[in-house]
Amino acid sequence: MSDYIKDAIITGVWETFIMTFFASLFSYAVGLPLGVVLYSTSKGRLLENRGVNAVIGTIVNITRSLPFLILLVLLIPFTRAIVGKSIGTTAAIVPLTIGAIPIVARMVEASLSEVQPGIIEAATSMGASPLYTIIHFVIPEAMPSLLQGGAINVATVLGYSAMAGVIGGGGLGAIALQYGYYRYDKPVLWTTVTLLIIMVMLIQEFGIRLSKKHRKA
């Protein structure tokens, strides 16, 4: 493997890391509140609201059911409008974020739904408002599960970032595609694939440890 390729791989790792990090961050910034809204407006929950739940639920379901590759292409104009270009690492963060938001939202909703109704009942009986109950009872109780879900989501974003390489997103995915697919350079292909797997495993491991540390019961 030439030094040139080695450098390209190192840059690729870095780009993958940057894309994954920011796309995860932004998708949680939007997906977490969305998940909380989905949870609290659903049937029998504290802020039950059919209308809000149906609208957000439908949008989330539609975005989530689009194959990510299609979403990538569909979002090109949108990405260009936001970051001024449609290729490169920064540009790839946009579709990655949009694609991850519905996944995060559903994951958060599922984690919050696991919290035992008794906890909410106790909060209500103490005179806590619905918002207070969600912030101080439901979310803290769901924390270990939220962290575990977080690790899964970040790993998903990492996988998507490799796909973003297809439309010029850079990162390990782009290298794998160029050298592995177009030139069929096996050593480079396997190196990038191994690196991707290692990154996913590191994220999972970190997430599980964090979740375990937080889990008190």
Binding site: Q116, G118, A122, S125, H136, P140, E141
Partner: protein, 332 residues
Amino acid sequence: MENVYELNNVYKTYKNDGREFTALKGVSLEVKEGEIFGIIGMSGAGKSTLVRTLNRLEEVTSGTVSFYGKDLAALKPAELREVRHSISMIFQGFNLLNQRTVIQNVEQSLKIIGVPRVKRRKKAEQMLEIVGLLEKCNEYPARLSGGQKQRVAIARALAADPKVLLCDEATSALDPKITGEILDLLKKINEERKLTIIIITHEMAVVEKICDRVAIIDDGNLAEIGDVKEVFSNPQSKAAKKLVFPSNPFEASHPDGKVIRLVFDGTQSSVPFIANLVEKTGIKVNILSANTKSVGGIGYGQMIVELPESQKERQTAIDFFRDGGLSVTEVS
């Protein structure tokens, strides 16, 4: 004494997917300030539903629940939350926050009402001291036994100085010894803080041990209500009889035999009547069952006896017991 609660003709109908179920059918009762009020009944009778109307966790379908004269149903959300600060509740499943320490759990009820951090911590420590768990203050609930968890829940419930404590099967998940300890603690708190306590249970022993008055709920109806010693020594309703004398089918040994129940209420429990009856009249009776229990420190007892066949002897025996101050009722 003032009434904490007044329930007037309370109905509760659950509606699920077009199916209706009426869990409370016109319950009216009063709970007096400072008393320990028991609500007992068979499983599914509507006890939890009833207690949950007391802090409006459950809305009533019709009728009124008033708390110190205020109709709970008329309160706006903010007012309801305010009132709930003075109505605490403990649960069968404890419902503690598992991801928070014991003291953080206790502090929660103070945090809700906006008590500042330092004051909150001090109050929480005091409460844990009262329930005897101060040394566990930094543990997580998962490390505690059931009895200890319920103590934490009690500390949490009492931290905000409520006027009433509602307990829904608070001891049902605990063994008899720990149940006894928790009940003693509740009794102590009732006496020291003049706290009104409402206890839901399906266990007679719980009511006998600490309640002043009891309501018996049967299939959504209030079957009987009164002082514990009266209801338990002389139950009137079928539901009450079934609870007080669960294994009642005392059949006479032959078809036209007569079985009666004698109830003594403490004053005469030391008198040996059966022996006296034989000695004074020569009439022998057949004892089918006998037991005594202590209700509020006084010994109560009941005895089920079968009387001889002769009508005359029967009457003599009944008169003898009545003269001795016992209450005599026919069983069959």
